[in-house]
Structure formats: C-alpha cells, structure tokens
C-alpha cells in the first residue's frame, strides 16, 4: 500500500539491464545458465510468497505444482506440441490441483497447514514414481533433444521472473492484497470486517501454483530429462521456503534477493563441496530468525534508512 518511488523504478530498470546480457555475451554459457536457474528460482520464490508471505500460509508442498507443470509440458511435448505453447497449460494443471488440495488444507492454521502440505507433496512424488506408464516412473522420462539456445532459455526465465514479480507487486497494492494481509494478521477479525477469507486464501494459492507450474514447464524443456525424485522432490519444496525466508517473508523484493543468494551459494559450492551449501543455508536461516525477521530485504531497508540519516 505504501508506494516507494525508487523501488517501483528499480524493477523495470534491472529487468532491462538483465535482458541485454544474452545480446552482449551470447556465448557465455555458464553465465546464461546461472541466469536461467536464478530467474526460475526468483519466479517461484516470488510466487510462493503470494500465499506464504502475503497470506501467511507456509506451504512445504510446492514441488507438487512444479512437478505437475514439468510433466504436463513433457507429455504434451512428446505428443508434438511446441513447448512454449504448453507453459500456460502447465500452469493451469498446477492451479487446478492447488484448488483440490487447498479446499481442505487451507482450513488448517499455522503448522497444521504446513504439515499437511508436506504430505501432499510427498504423496505426489510417490504417485509419480509409481505411475510408470505416464511418467516413466523410476527410470525417468527422456524428452526431445531439439531445444532452443541458452540465450532463449535465459530470456524465457527472465520473462517468468518478471511476470511473477509484476503479479506479486500488483497483488500487494490491490484490495486483494490488503485482504490477504488482514487475514494473515487476524483471520477472525478480517472475516468479521467482510473479507471472504476462504475465497482469498484459495485465490492466492491458485495464483501462485499457476506461476510455479508454468516454471516447471520451462525447466522441463531445459532439462530434457525428468525424474519424479527431482521435480517432485522435497528439496524443491524446501528451496522455495528457504529462498523466501532468507530474502524476507512477505516483502516484495525478499524472494528476489533470496533466490540470487540461494542459487549463487549452491552453484559456487556444489561442485567442490557437495553438501556444504546446506550448512550455509542453515546458518543463514538461524541468523535471520534471530536478528532480522524480514530477511535480506529487511536488512537492505535498514541499511538504506541508515544511509539516509547519515547523509
């Protein structure tokens, strides 16, 4: 609701600058890959934050949406569809599933909701592992090898991140966003002031599931090989929670910063120390919970204010 001018301008400027990278360095594959994965994490973190941050429903089950999106694209692609055309459908399948899951689970509050979502996520993974006729089961699914350039993937992921960000920013300053914030702080009070809390929670869930599902579709195109343990894995769910908590729960820029740090740490450490990144995330999480509940975004805002004062 509180408009911040420099921040409103920052997003499009950063977006345009990033969009120039494939033009300037079309052959720098490692940079384009870094961008692709980071932007996809940004897109998913921002989307997750619409339900988790704005409405306060911490879900540990978003791998279900990501995996459904990935398999939707994969199966249609194998039937001759152009991958790009399948992304909206991947989102829709995830959104439809979120409605089925959300209707019962969003009645639960706090940790009860979170625990239920873990169950949903794992159930989907087990289901995908066992439906071998459709998903290829434990041997995975090989996808066509004719794919666009790295530069194309980079730009597509950037578009996903931008769309996600624009939607979250729009939600935040809208009546819908005000309702979500109110129900996060006090559901009963919000309800008694006329907020249709059940409807709003489900809408937030559907919206974020749609975006995460579409991201799953794009990632499937990139990977060319799908396995239930990767796209439906619990790691995928927990990543989105970590990204948002590290970056700043409920803030607009938090998941953006969180995703950048999250993927940079993982990318840098994974090759030489395969499990060290987990320790880094753990330490970061503890520090944030203890000292800055609004995460990196809160820290940045604090430093910004200090600079304003000292000037």
């Amino acid at each position: 609701m509180r408009a911040a001018r420099p921040a409103a301008l920052a997003a499009p400027v950063i977006g345009i600058l990033l969009a120039l990278v494939p033009v300037i360095a079309p052959r720098n594959v490692s940079l384009l890959n870094l961008g692709f994965f980071t932007f996809l994490y940004v897109a998913r973190g921002v989307a997750w934050n619409i339900l988790g941050g704005f409405a306060g429903y911490i879900s540990f089950g978003y791998a279900a949406f990501f995996g459904l999106g990935a398999y939707t694209t994969a199966l249609l692609w194998l039937r001759g569809w152009a991958p790009v055309a399948t992304y909206p459908l991947a989102g829709l399948v995830a959104a439809a599933f979120s409605l089925v899951v959300g209707a019962p689970t969003l009645r639960l509050v706090g940790p009860y909701f979170s625990i239920a979502t873990i169950g949903v996520g794992e159930a989907m993974r087990i289901l995908a592992l066992n439906l071998d006729r459709v998903t290829g089961g434990a041997s995975g699914l090989n996808l066509p090898t004719t794919v666009p350039s790295k530069g194309w993937f980079y730009t597509a992921a950037l578009v996903c991140a931008a769309v996600s960000f624009a939607i979250a920013a729009g939600v935040r300053r809208s009546r819908f966003g005000l309702g979500l914030q109110a129900l996060r702080m006090d559901q009963e009070a919000a309800e008694s002031l006329g907020v249709r809390t059940a409807l709003f929670k489900n809408l937030a869930h559907i919206l974020s599931a749609f975006l995460v599902g579409a991201c799953g579709g794009l990632e499937a195109t990139y990977l060319q090989y799908l396995h239930p343990d990767s796209v439906f894995g619990f790691t995928e769910s927990i990543s989105l929670v970590l990204i948002t908590l590290i970056g700043g729960l409920g803030t607009l820029w938090g998941p953006v910063l969180g995703a950048a740090v999250f993927y940079a740490v993982q990318d840098y450490l994974l090759a030489s120390y395969p499990t060290l990144h987990l320790l880094v995330y753990g330490v970061l999480l503890i520090l944030i919970l203890l000292f800055e509940p609004k995460g990196l975004a809160g820290l940045a805002a604090r430093l910004w204010r200090r600079m304003q004062v000292s000037r």
Binding site: M1, R175, L178, G179, Q181, A182, M185, D186, E188, A189, A190, E191, S192, L193, G194, V195, R196, T197
Partner: protein, 245 residues
C-alpha cells in the same frame, strides 16, 4: 416496522454446556440496547451466533426480517451487521488508516472503489478522533485507541446494526467519558447499537433498553430503571448494594 434484529429460540450448546439457551427477543431499529450479565453468561457467544462466528444449535436469527442463521461472518457484515471484539484485534503491522481501510474496502453491501474506500476510511478516522494517528502502526496504539480503532473499523463497513462487545472495559474514567460520547454520536447517525458492557454507570446512562443474560437465559428485559429493581437481576448480577443505590 420490521425489527433490526429478531432472535427466535436461539440456542448454542458446546458439548454439554448450554452457552445460549432459548433466547427470543426483538430489537427495534434505532437506539441503544444494553446486554448485561455475569461473566460466562453467554453474552459474547450470543453476539457470535448472530454475526456468524459460530453456528447456532437451534433457533433463528433475522436481520430486518431476513434470515441470517448460519451465515458466515463476512456475509453478515456485508449485509450490514458488524461486531467489534472484546479482546481488541487490530491488524498490528498495518497502519491505523489501513486497518480502517479493510473495513471500508470489504464491508458493506455495495463495493466501494479504491479512492472512495480511502475517503470513507479517512472520514471515519475523523469521526472517531483517530485522524491524528492515521499513519502509525496499529501495534503502537494505547488500549483506549485500540478500542476506538475496533469501533472505527466496524463503522467503516457502513453497518445499520453495530454490536459492541465491551468497548469501555479497561478504560480510565476520562477515556470512558469520551467513548460514551462516541457511542452516542454513532447512535445519532441512526445506527442501531447493541452493547455488551460491565460498566454499569455507562450502560444505565446510555441504554434505552437493557437485556440481562444469566446462564445463557434471558432473565430480564426492560428499561434500565426497571431492570435494576428486578430481584432476579440483583441476585444474579448486580448484588444487593446496587439495589439500594
């Protein structure tokens, strides 16, 4: 003229406990009705049954002749009956203005556009004397201001019937006087008020009619002066000293 609220044999059981028992009453439009009774008499439960927080076990509730039994809370609020909470529940991380904006943007039978809702919220802040504090976070308000914010948010939903749950509790004498003046001003706008209150001086002063609840049953109903002389009420709630007064 149809009554603002009609309750017919309204009953709420929690397991073996009967919190509200066979309450039948009509509340006419306009004026202030006091609802008193000892702790645990079922006053707040009765409010919640009317405004959709809890579903009644039996009986009916009508708002201007329209059945609202078992409606959800947001629907009752949009129809025009709004309740404030005994334990204040501000949206702590929103500003005072944003708190009131929630009521303005979501309450009421017709939806206000963004700018109209904002203007409505500002007008309500002015009316309730919170305009000075509009940009501070609700978590920084004093208790008296929080109680006022409860009322302001409810008013922003543009209700025809306002149910106030102990808006005077915990206030200093000076704050109580201000709050009493505010309740009068709301009544003068033509809003029907039902108020649960323990501050006897204020209830007797404000109310045109007093209802007394004890163990979930309505044991008295009448003018303030009549009710204070009712032996059952003295026995159950007021105590002998009050009768002598």
């Amino acid at each position: 003229m149809t009554a603002a609220l009609t309750l017919e044999h309204l009953t709420k059981r929690f397991g073996g406990l009967v919190a509200v028992q066979d309450v039948t009453v009509e509340i006419a439009a306009g004026g202030i009705t006091g609802l008193i009774g000892p702790n645990g008499a079922g006053k707040t439960t009765l409010f919640r049954v009317i405004t959709g927080g809890v579903r009644p076990s039996a009986g009916r509730a009508l708002y201007y002749g329209r059945e609202i039994t078992g409606w959800s809370a947001h629907a009752v609020c949009r129809l025009g009956a709004c309740v404030t909470h005994q334990i204040v529940r501000p949206f702590a991380d929103l500003t005072v203005l944003e708190n009131v904006l929630v009521g303005a943007a979501f309450g009421g039978s017709h939806r206000l556009g963004g700018l109209t809702a904002r203007a409505e919220a500002e007008a309500v802040l002015e009316f309730t004397g919170l305009a000075r504090r509009r940009d501070v976070l609700a978590s920084t308000l004093t208790l008296a201001e929080r109680k006022r914010l409860e009322i302001a948010r409810a008013l922003a939903t543009r209700p025809r019937v306002l149910l106030l749950d102990e808006v005077l509790a915990g206030l200093t004498p000076a704050e109580t006087d201000q709050a009493v003046a505010l309740v009068r001003a709301i009544r003068d706008r033509g809003i029907t008020i039902v108020m649960i209150e323990h501050v006897m001086r204020a209830v007797m002063d404000l109310s045109d009619r007093v209802l007394v609840l004890n163990y979930g049953r309505l044991i008295a109903d009448g003018l303030p002066a009549e009710v204070t002389r009712n032996p059952q009420v003295i026995e159950a709630y007021l105590g002998r000293d009050f009768g002598v007064m």
